[in-house]
């Protein structure tokens, strides 16, 4: 139930994507930004499958910013999919062993802290 008619649950449709894009033209350059809600489970699954890695909890798959040079059509864009495609999908650049050791000890402390806390409360 909503005051302004039914919610548009099916977006982003191309029209919704257009509607959510704000642009500004300055001296031959068009600068745009698109802000849409967090991706739904279907596009997330699809993205995860294509990328071959699990997707971060909050993924704005339809968001982007871009700079376009109107005379030549040159266009630079920033989007989540391409950024995640640059995340290492092997164990080559995993955080170093020293770090992970520190991490496991901090994790241990964290658990210990929570146990203490639950005893106090």
């Amino acid at each position: 139930m909503s005051f302004n008619g039914p919610l548009d649950e099916n977006f982003p449709t191309p029209a919704a994507a257009d509607k959510s894009t704000v642009s500004y033209v300055q001296k031959g350059f068009k600068i745009s930004a698109r802000k849409l809600p967090i991706s739904k489970s279907e596009p997330i699954d699809e993205m995860s499958k294509k990328l071959g890695i699990p997707i971060p909890e909050m993924i704005f798959g339809d968001n982007m910013v871009s700079i376009e040079h109107l005379a030549t059509g040159w266009r630079l864009e920033f989007n989540a999919y391409d950024a995640l495609d640059r995340v290492d999908k092997t164990d080559k650049n995993m955080l170093k062993v020293a770090y992970s050791k520190e991490w496991s000890s901090s994790r241990y402390n964290y658990i210990r802290f929570n146990v203490l806390l639950s005893l106090i409360l």
Binding site: V22, Y24, Q26, K27, G28, F29, I31, A33, R34, K35, G52, I53, P54, I55, P56, E57, M58, I59, F60, N63, M64, V65, S66, I67, H69, A71, T72, G73, W74, R75, L76, E77, F78, N79, A80, D82, A83, L84, R86, V87, D88, K89, T90, D91, N93, M94, L95, Y99, E102, W103, S106, R107, N109
Partner: protein
């Protein structure tokens, strides 16, 4: 599950969807003119867009977001990844795109910063601790360039 970098660290510098790529200029490489960006020019257009965010299973944060501001003669876009693994390390990866509208010139600058969590913590005053660790803009000044600053030298000119 296959291993992957679960901190979602990325060296993403943007996607060119049309036109020529940036070229690495070894000579006459121009840095982004910081002084011109410090001038109090009117800001005609400003946007901030988040691309993804993860809390790393409650062990920190990894966020990628873009901010841009357009002024009469130039613009700056910052795409920043901020990654904090609690009690371990802090990492910032910045891609800056500078456009000089009058010269039709685009400069891309990419920087990696990284330091141990304890070191960054020491630099800061304890009372502001929590605030600072949630705010990459403040934190950026506290982080050492452990990985040497890779000042991007890519330039592409339209004229």
């Amino acid at each position: 599950m296959k291993p992957f970098d679960w901190s979602y660290t990325t060296d993403y510098k943007g996607t060119i969807t049309k036109g020529k790529p940036f070229e690495l200029e070894k000579e006459n490489a121009e840095p982004i003119p910081i002084e011109l960006l410090k001038r109090p020019d009117p800001i005609l257009f400003f946007e901030e867009v988040v691309l993804f965010e993860s809390e790393l299973d409650d062990n920190g944060i990894s966020i990628l977001s873009c901010k841009l501001r357009v002024m009469p003669d130039r613009m700056l876009l910052l795409c920043r990844q901020f990654m904090r693994l609690d009690d371990v390390l802090v990492r910032i990866r910045d891609t800056r795109i500078y456009v000089d509208f009058n010269l039709g010139k685009v400069i891309r600058d990419y920087t990696e910063k990284e330091d141990g969590f304890d070191k960054v913590k020491k630099v800061q005053m304890p009372p502001a601790y929590f605030y600072i660790f949630r705010n990459p803009c403040t934190l950026s000044f506290a982080i050492e360039f452990r990985i040497p600053s890779q000042v991007g030298l890519d330039l592409s000119s339209f004229l």
